[in-house]
Symmetry: C2
Subunit: 212 residues, 2 copies
């Protein structure tokens, strides 16, 4: 198909597609003349992925470029794909991941969270910035007296591990599909789980009141 048709089937303006091509977010089409190229289903898929990462995932085009670079390199294993997608999402700060990536190993990061994760036996990269995210979120709970001790954290983690199994089971095996599922699943399933948690509070409270 021509660029105008790719624009039509993807719902993305021709000018934007040309920008994606210049920035390398979209692979070139098959040249059919000096000024025209032919595009196929792989281009439609790629444009959908870029739009989803940008509009739903909230990633900048430069971050999307880095994500695509990693997942389209040959021989990527699943853990690398997962961590690339996770780091691109960062902790709500699209620029933060770069500086953190370059900081190298720092075994003292998130000391309480690190110690707890080790004791639990979770196999995670000890230098992952996610451990700092956990440390900060945990400290915020403690600072207002929510009483989130190791015991309650373990109780949460047992259930979250079950949620993680459901997530990982639903990830496709191709790298592009996997990164799409990881990024979008991370961003879009969080609100589903948050709504479910609040409804569960109601259900559990009503059930307990009824049984007294």
């Amino acid at each position: 198909m021509r660029l105008a048709e790719l624009s039509e089937s993807s719902g993305v303006a021709v000018a934007t597609l040309k920008y994606y091509l210049r920035e390398g977010l979209l692979h070139p089409g098959q040249a059919v003349s000096r000024t025209q190229a032919d595009y196929d289903e792989t281009h439609v898929e790629r444009v959908r992925l870029v739009r989803a990462l940008s509009e739903v995932g909230g990633l900048s085009l430069s971050t999307i470029g880095r994500v695509l670079e990693v997942i389209t390199s040959p021989g990527q294993d699943w853990i690398t794909v997962l961590k690339t997608a996770q780091r691109a999402l960062g902790s709500g700060n699209d620029n933060g991941s770069d500086s953190r990536d370059g900081s190298g190993p720092d075994l003292a990061r998130g000391p309480r969270a690190s110690a707890w994760l080790s004791a639990r036996g979770w196999q995670v990269d000890p230098t992952d910035p996610l451990i700092d995210d956990l440390e900060r979120a945990w400290a915020a709970c403690e600072s207002v007296g929510l009483g989130l001790d190791e015991g309650r954290m373990n109780a949460y983690a047992d259930h979250v591990e079950g949620i993680g199994e459901v997530d990982v089971d639903s990830v496709p095996t191709d790298p592009e599909g996997a990164v799409r599922q990881v990024v979008l699943g991370t961003v879009l399933v969080d609100p589903v789980l948050a709504a479910l948690r609040r409804l569960a509070h109601q259900h559990i409270s009503v059930s307990r009141t009824a049984s007294h």
Copy 2:
């Protein structure tokens, strides 16, 4: 203690405390002269609650006023306290809850989410705006092809029910303590669970790769 001392022990400026008193967010002290009053620990506690709801919960002072009005009315049952706290938090829109509260029963809201909740047997208020939140979050996942069908939703809900049990078990029995725990626990524990979910993805992926 005098107002200046209340200011010191709560870390809140005298002018702000006077504003809380005028708006009824803080109950009057015991008058000791025409211009002075005496405050006690109940005032310190209340100021801490207002600050936490405002700074951590992100609630406006008028919303906090409505929350306090409900929880300080005599004879409030736990379900009312829970729902008041949940509605004050709304769906990220501090003004939204009012208009929705006034809309009355609407059994057609969130049709797919409603049907799924009924089938699951969760005892929730069928008019609760949370059902709309769930419907929207679910539809957003489907719109990008995340494949979130009823089966996967049930799998999530099983685990979230476990998280809800941990939450409800940690709620104190006094209404002020309960609303504090519900609002702050809702706002502050979500980021803990989000970080845990991402770390669980790593742990599960590494474990599965190792076992192949």
